[in-house]
Symmetry: C2
Subunit: 156 residues, 2 copies
């Protein structure tokens, strides 16, 4: 064990959305991120970026689920059993969600974003502007990932 | 205040690097991420991705620094004073670092990565594979950001 110390975070805000269940995975749907009022000044200038990363806390994940080591991507038993760090599953030791979203508008302490796959009431930990260091043009992904995307296209 | 509850995290590992000071910002330098031994199975399959996001805890940031609302990007007073959420500054309410790195190799519980701007001893919170939903081809960034990049190129 290399790292015993605990870290304490306090949410900076909360997700508001009318989307239910799998509707939150629809990349076109709009959500609001309501930032705590006292942090409103920390948003100044964010509208100059078209996209932001949202870091949020997957509050529905239990302590037992945080201890899972392996999963089938999206629960699909026809895909390989993989370590949780090789997937984007919610079931991970520190269940922090990370999603790139389009920043549609900002009004006071409320950000309207497109494509946030987080449920209503989800605690938000951070928002960060997206810049061109956040991408890898030559990235390689596994076959199982490409297969899932291909299927999604066919079902769309 | 919308979100009173505290969240407790436990690091999954630690950064090991010989780079000191600004050397960690060199995108070419190699670091190791030593994952806690009991989490080694959770890495299975990660080598099929060429790039991963590393989420880490900026442990050198004080409580006072976490309360800062505005900064000049990279401390440059000739650039606009901006809300911390409009920058990638370390000085933010929850000082979580987020960096996309190249995954060079994995041996047991040790990931070797290229381009991690974190100091030796930094606690790691999560690693996530990079896929093509994590990028925005049509992204817009502010003029100050482009200016900084342009300067970096000239100084390289």
């Amino acid at each position: 064990m290399t790292s015993e110390r605990s870290i304490i975070l306090k949410p900076i805000g909360i997700v508001r959305t009318e989307a239910l269940g799998d509707e939150v995975k629809d990349k076109k749907h709009l959500s609001e991120i309501v930032i705590d009022c006292e942090l409103t000044p920390a948003l100044e200038g964010i509208t100059e970026f078209s996209h932001i990363f949202v870091l949020f806390w997957l509050s529905e994940i239990s302590v037992e689920q945080q201890q899972m080591m392996k999963v089938h991507p999206r629960g699909r038993r026809d895909l390989p059993l993989l370590g949780v760090f090789a997937t984007r599953t919610n079931l991970r030791p520190n269940p922090i969600g990370l999603t790139l979203v389009e920043l549609v508008k900002v009004e006071g302490n409320v950000l309207t974003v497109r494509g946030l796959d987080a449920y209503d009431g989800t605690p938000v930990l951070d928002v960060k502007p997206f810049d061109f260091w956040d991408t890898a043009k030559d990235a390689r992904v596994p076959k199982w990932w490409l297969k899932l995307e291909e299927e999604k296209k066919h079902n769309a």
